[in-house]
């Protein structure tokens, strides 16, 4: 069958996995029954267990769902240490349900797949050798990709039932009170891990920094934690986030960033009390810098900045240009370390951030968001999942969720090398064109024809030509040529959920 973004979906797989086709970006107001975790009551004086091997033995059984968070990013030691023990102990048929998978986790996941230890995966994304293996059919069951908000929704609804959560933290006391902001390996907000702590049947905290009881501020609380394990090191502080923030010097990125800023400042949303989300990456950081100057020049202040936070956003907070930072994760040390200094920098969990099945998520209040794209097509559908060769190499992250903003801007170059960014049809639809408003490239902007208000507001910005998205696509094709269509087999290797849990697209096995 086909869904409303015209993607052919595999009927058998859909009925086996109980999927509905994606229909609309409007979630509506359904009544939802949430699940609750099983609690093993205890009044013990301490939850400290002597070793990881011991706690794995006590908690994990074949066929279970285990989870991790990715806040340590490329500096993560916890994932590899736990998975090594699990593989060596010979467990089988596990479902891996981390908030996302970073490159340092790739090799051991591939090994776990090859040995039958892991037979199902749900994640925000994957890349490198793991994405390559999955795209070549290494995993028998399709991977399920969910946005950060959708993961929160699926955990709350019981679609993801976590048996054991292994959560690395930079500090914890003997009862399991912990936060992400203190210690050698501090990463700031524990946003994604808070879901696991709240909903997993068994919660294992892993730390290299055992603090005196009671450890505060406690983001994860002792009421949620079953075991605490002390190991030598939970992560490599230098690889958790980039150190000093570097601004891009790439003239193309700067041109795009400047244009993004012009789009924001010429829109009706640029007024006192507006809110925004920028994300990481060179262009996004440059946008923050341009936006700062425009806010000063026009004496405009923002009510909040949302999402993944970087140092330039913290600078705005400290300068008084932003009133609150609503922080689900921190991309650099500056943002991470400011967390306990700035009480206006509020840690939020993934549900509060972006979950549609909620009594209100922050993304619903968001005015402006700047997002990236590997590909965007003439229907404004965006792909952030599969590369130009069809291989999985990305993550949904908060893309679908933040695209709910009132002004959703995609910033992307027209072409990258010989690969067009603006294409007739994206390889994989991740975020539907319905929620995308403006595309900004180095040659100009394209506005979603559904947004007449934006066409009126943005059509006469000096030095910013407006094209139709079809014109942009033709410009790109003229530069790079017409590529040969990618070849895939009939086998589905990944399901792409929309944030409401419906199926928006699938990824097929690549033919090599």
């Amino acid at each position: 069958m086909k869904n409303s973004v015209n993607r052919e979906l595999p009927d058998t797989l859909m009925s086996d996995l109980n999927y509905k086709p994606f229909k609309t970006t409007n979630f509506g107001n359904p009544e939802i029954q949430r699940v609750a975790p099983k609690v093993h009551a205890t009044a013990n004086e301490s939850k400290v267990v002597s070793s990881l091997a011991e706690v794995v033995k006590q908690t994990v059984q074949d066929g279970m769902t285990i989870s991790f968070h990715h806040h340590f990013r490329e500096g993560d030691y916890v994932f590899n240490k736990v998975m090594r023990i699990i593989i060596d102990a010979g467990y089988q048929n596990l479902t891996l349900a981390p908030s996302s998978l970073t490159n340092v986790m790739n090799d051991i996941v591939v090994e776990a797949i090859e040995k039958g230890v892991v037979t199902n995966i749900t994640s925000s994304g994957m890349r490198g050798s793991l994405g390559d293996a999955v795209s070549h059919g290494a995993l028998q069951n399709p991977v399920i990709f969910r946005s950060h908000g959708n993961r929160a929704r699926a955990i709350e609804s019981g679609e993801i039932k976590i048996d054991v959560a292994f959560l690395g933290v930079p500090n914890a006391d003997e009862m399991g009170n912990a936060n992400g902001m203190d210690g050698e390996t501090a990463f700031g907000s524990l946003g994604y891990a808070l879901m696991d702590a709240q909903y997993a049947d068994k919660v294992v905290l892993i730390t290299d920094n055992l603090k005196q009881y009671p450890n505060t501020p406690a983001s994860i609380k002792q009421t949620q934690v079953d075991y605490v394990v002390k190991i030598d090191a939970v992560g490599n502080a230098d690889k958790i986030g980039s150190g000093a923030t570097r601004f891009t010097k790439d003239p193309k990125e700067l041109k795009i960033a400047k244009t993004v800023n012009q789009v924001i400042t010429h829109s009706d949303y640029f007024k006192n009390g507006f809110s925004f989300q920028t994300g990481s990456g060179g262009a996004a950081l440059a946008v923050t810098r341009f936006l700062r100057q425009s806010m000063i020049d026009n004496q405009i202040k923002a009510s909040f900045a949302l999402g993944g936070i970087t140092k330039p956003t913290i600078d705005l907070l400290e300068e008084g240009l932003v009133d609150r930072v609503m922080d689900v994760q921190d991309f650099d040390k500056g943002a991470a370390s400011s967390m306990h200094l700035n009480k206006q920098q509020q840690e939020i969990d993934a549900s509060w951030y972006a979950d549609p099945a909620n009594k209100g998520a922050m993304v619903d209040k968001l005015d402006v968001v700047i997002l990236s794209a590997l590909e965007i097509d003439t229907k404004f559908n965006v792909n952030v999942m599969s590369g130009s060769d069809g291989v999985i190499r990305g993550a949904i992250g908060g893309h679908q969720d933040a695209a709910k903003a009132k002004l959703t801007i995609i910033s992307a170059p027209l072409v990258r090398g010989r690969i067009a960014t603006v294409v007739p049809d994206v390889t994989t639809v991740v975020t539907p064109g319905d929620s995308i408003d403006v595309l900004v490239t180095e040659v100009g902007i394209a506005i979603n024809p559904k947004r007449q208000d934006l066409i009126d507001a943005l059509s006469h910005i000096p030095g910013v030509p407006v094209y139709t998205i079809e014109q942009m696509q033709q410009m790109a094709e003229k530069i790079v040529g017409k590529p040969k269509a990618l070849e895939f087999t009939d086998r589905t290797v990944a399901m792409i959920e929309y944030r409401d849990g419906s199926l928006i697209d699938v990824v097929k096995e690549v033919k090599d």
């Binding site: 130009s388 060769d389 990258r416 090398g417 010989r418 690969i419 530069i479 040529g481 590529p483 070849e487």
Partner: protein, 97 residues
């Protein structure tokens, strides 16, 4: 025209292509390395073949290391490589350019 010496043109920088042409015996033989092989491999071979044909080269071994070069870059690097291989760098073939 007969290729008698090996010649190279281009670099391994992003958006460039390095083309090495050497003596061949059985038509034009390709060895292609490219990140965009799947989408543009055939077009890359075609562009190089067209240039070689204009120089009337029938036998050559061609090694291509492509870093996402646009078509015009591939054409220019091929012209440079084939002129060097034929030892005619001082006699540009204007009708090809």
């Amino acid at each position: 025209m007969e290729i008698n010496k090996t010649a190279i043109a281009g670099t391994l920088e992003s958006s460039d292509v390095q083309i090495m042409i050497s003596k061949g015996t059985s038509g034009i033989q390709f060895e292609v390395e490219s990140d965009v092989e799947k989408q543009f491999g055939d077009q890359i071979r075609q562009t190089v073949t067209d240039v070689l044909r204009q120089y009337d080269v029938k036998n050559a071994d061609v090694k291509i290391v492509d870093k996402g070069a646009l078509d015009m870059v591939i054409k220019a690097r091929t012209i440079a490589a084939v002129q060097r291989a034929l030892d005619i760098v001082d006699q540009p073939k204007w009708e090809v350019l």
